[in-house]
Symmetry: C3
Subunit: 444 residues, 3 copies
Amino acid sequence: MHPLMLPAEPMHRWATDLFPIHRSLTGAGVRQTLAYLQDLLPGLRVESVASGTRAFDWTVPDEWTVRAASITHESGERVADIADHTLHLMGYSVPVDATLPLEALQEHLHSLPEQPDAIPYVTSYYERRWGFCMAHRKRAQLKPGLYRVRIDTDLSPGVMNYGEFILPGSDTSEIFLSTYVCHPSMANNELSGPVVTAALARWLARLPTRRYTYRIIFVPETIGSLVYLSRHLEAMRRNMIAGFVVTCAGDERAYSLMPSRRGDTLADRAARAALRGFAEPYTEYSFLERGSDERQYCSPSADLPVASIMRSKYGTFPEYHTSLDDLSFVTQQGLEGALRVYQRCLWTLEHNETYRATCVGEPQLVRHGFMPGASHKGTAIEPRRLLNILAYADGTRDLIAIAETTRIDVVECVNLAQLLLKRGLLEITWSGMKGGSGSATVPC
Amino acid sequence: MHPLMLPAEPMHRWATDLFPIHRSLTGAGVRQTLAYLQDLLPGLRVESVASGTRAFDWTVPDEWTVRAASITHESGERVADIADHTLHLMGYSVPVDATLPLEALQEHLHSLPEQPDAIPYVTSYYERRWGFCMAHRKRAQLKPGLYRVRIDTDLSPGVMNYGEFILPGSDTSEIFLSTYVCHPSMANNELSGPVVTAALARWLARLPTRRYTYRIIFVPETIGSLVYLSRHLEAMRRNMIAGFVVTCAGDERAYSLMPSRRGDTLADRAARAALRGFAEPYTEYSFLERGSDERQYCSPSADLPVASIMRSKYGTFPEYHTSLDDLSFVTQQGLEGALRVYQRCLWTLEHNETYRATCVGEPQLVRHGFMPGASHKGTAIEPRRLLNILAYADGTRDLIAIAETTRIDVVECVNLAQLLLKRGLLEITWSGMKGGSGSATVPC
Amino acid sequence: MHPLMLPAEPMHRWATDLFPIHRSLTGAGVRQTLAYLQDLLPGLRVESVASGTRAFDWTVPDEWTVRAASITHESGERVADIADHTLHLMGYSVPVDATLPLEALQEHLHSLPEQPDAIPYVTSYYERRWGFCMAHRKRAQLKPGLYRVRIDTDLSPGVMNYGEFILPGSDTSEIFLSTYVCHPSMANNELSGPVVTAALARWLARLPTRRYTYRIIFVPETIGSLVYLSRHLEAMRRNMIAGFVVTCAGDERAYSLMPSRRGDTLADRAARAALRGFAEPYTEYSFLERGSDERQYCSPSADLPVASIMRSKYGTFPEYHTSLDDLSFVTQQGLEGALRVYQRCLWTLEHNETYRATCVGEPQLVRHGFMPGASHKGTAIEPRRLLNILAYADGTRDLIAIAETTRIDVVECVNLAQLLLKRGLLEITWSGMKGGSGSATVPC
């Protein structure tokens, strides 16, 4: 079976398993999540980085442990409890055991008047505070009186964890996938990333041949990617031909592309080719609207070719960063759509050769078994496509450029080019492209 | 008289003379056509290439001789006869003398249900078959019974012919014109090509001076151009600054441009300049919609700068490849329109110098006899045009680029530049441009 | 106070003072005007160039002295007198003392039927004639009979004057400002130029530091700029990074830009950045529509990077070159608008460094005192702007390019970049840009 035809794995079930875990930048929730992913990806290495470790301008924070957190009215009514929803507790809340009147409690509550049924997602990583989040409708009904607040957390030196999975290819040049594992119960802006990445990694592992080496990481957002960069920047700059931040890959509303900072790298070009004709119309955002780890990877001093293929981009859907970003918003079908585009994209990169037509003029396709002997009004599609590929196979265009110019679907273009290669009508002039500015005409 | 004002020759009459001749890739029809053209162009050389000769991926086919072909019903009624229309016989039909029932005959008939009065044009060059074409209305009325099919043709080793006409210029750099002579009685998609090309060649031959050498060929489409390329590719690549496939140059409906594969060669730039302001609006097609011998000339390994200025492009008009493409669809006025654009185009190429203004600042045009002494609201057109030409004559732009930037008609721009040159306000900085990518700013 | 916040000077009063002076290419009116400007700009040097001096293709004309000019009907009615309006006399009119019938007088009269209340502005610099201009309504009422015409002028060898003001900076690289002083009583298409230029020069003189040297000239249009070029071209080409022709800078209707001939020089880029977000929508004209001294400065052999920021461009407003271009059409507010854009433009040039972000990844802005510790739905504007500047500070983009890419107002971008520089998050990679083609990515 063609690798792009393989049935998709149960990503929505994986997301369902991972949903209740209380993830944050650090702590047991991340480790639990990585352990689950290790079951899916034997060979995934879990790394630990000590609190206080520097990564460029940043420092790994203390480890946050969360055991329980609730607010109880003097009447005994429990008005918020993380046993009900992990989002009730503001991320990185310090431990508290106190009784407060409603007025004083209000200063620690977060809610969204315009989305009265949504619990917002709030964190305070770098300022020591505590807080609770709740639906605004519920907050409005809080009775006067005293409230007992109990936050049984721990914020002290420990470790930050992340996962790294390396799939070797026949070439040391690398393709990079990065996704994050630091948000508690949210589906599109969190779990869609690791589950699509895991499915991609499993699919890559099963390919009969693999040209590139894949560097796949599961990190806490921002601090995790910075720590990873601080440890591997030299190798990543030397080897990476294209990279992707996998996030917001699970709903069914839209497809979108966050290009790299340069906007024309091989990652951008492959992503556009994969989206074109398959996931249209898709929205291409400006890099000014970035918001995930491409902020680190594409920063001028790192300057890596990292883009992001998404379904509904973070910040653009009303469920974003609330309890509404749940497993009804994210579906198996939505996840499969993102997976398919990423598969098309990586498949394109694996087969992105620069070709040259071998003969002067058009070949007599009929001699090569391609075409009916009689010409007639109109021409069959197939030969015209073959001739268009040959017309632009001039030794300066890679397959992505040929697909774009000829307006042939990039996966179909791979198939047809392989057919022409087999017949001796095409030859590969240059291979093993490296990343950077992504110009197909200036190989290096 | 200005060469661009010379009255046009009777191209429609030439086409009328050539219309009944039974042309195909090979055979007496091509020779008859070339003989007629020799009368118009003394010096035209007729070449012969033996059947079986290889040209890159192709082979010159056997020569096809056609003497007679008809279908007669057992009642004696003749339902198709090439004496009535050459299109009745499928091109390259093998000889047949047989009697068949209508049902068996049907498998050899071609017609167009959606154009019931048109005889379609069908060939089978590379598969040995036979067939007849007829109006669908007529076919629908065929009576049951037996039909006597007689095809008196001959398909055996012989030659393929083509014509070559070289007009030397003061420079060995060449401009190339190619047209085809292999379709039987069709007017726009055949005869407009050779008659406009012949008129152009006669016009060029009469120019008082001619800077470039003209290589003008009349070839069977595809195999003819491939054979010609196989014999002359090196010289063509060395000398050609621009080339054009002259075809579909005779109706009055539209103007269009098929650009070269590269799209920005000197041929493309001159063609656009010639069309602009004279034949607008015109349609610029994508090279993906190509269909004539630019397929060979522009193939990556030949990579010649060949474009095609047309009236209604092949494949876009309903009469295409049917008996409706006749001498009422093609008119003298239609032919003259195409001729004029080609004359403008070649005239532009002949005068496409790169200029530099000689003085700092604008000249005092009044001192050079150009401008009224008093300034007033608004400025006369003429001086403003002269000043605009001088403003962009910076030693990097050729005349085509200056015409485009200043939005002055390219022929008017030639006239004005020559005036400025005569007054010493312009000088030529670089001349003798060569073909290729056509960038005016990188002479070589 | 921030230099861009300083209150504007009384430019409209200066224009009112200068309005009645009878300026032309040469003569006492120009000297009077320059003397007034010397009061505003101590250090302004007034230069004299003898009639007959050559400047490229041009020659300095004889000096024109105008004392009185009038037309009186035999009834004693004075129908035109330059004591009433300087525009009544055609510029460069020869002396006359004659009596003519109305019919003969008509040949010397100029009026605008379509603007019956406007006195047109007409000159005859290079053909010796005389003439009067008047409102068409008045002309239509002229009674038959004899008219006494008295023109007390003098046209004989003398000098042409211009003013030059040099403000040294810490760098010998120069910014150039040119404005003209050769039209009599007109406000937008004359006096707005010198008064905005004088205000700019005074503002520049007061800046605490000044990186560039400013070469500021007040010249008769065309012949004045050509004479200046003929004397200083080598230094201007060596030192000029950007220049501007200041004209039509006083009405309130519009903003517009006349780009340099190349269109992408540093002058063009700084002008666009200054206009953007502050004076939008503004019209960018084609260089084909040029009309002032950029015709000389940008001519191919001078090739200086000179643009023009205007309010309503010459030739586009109905008052142009008539008595309606007066001090009610030009306002203090209109003049201040132009002044502000020029200040923004020069401020931008003074601070147009090429930056590089110092750290890999985004900095932790909170550590540098920039950002609240809690993330929430939406992000504060300020940090996002800082991060966007850092994202594009890659050592290849100057500040103008960063402002354009990040869509941050260029002056705000200067402020933010200086803040980041102070915190050590940015460094200057390259400074002291020179003019020319203006590509920010190819410093020289």
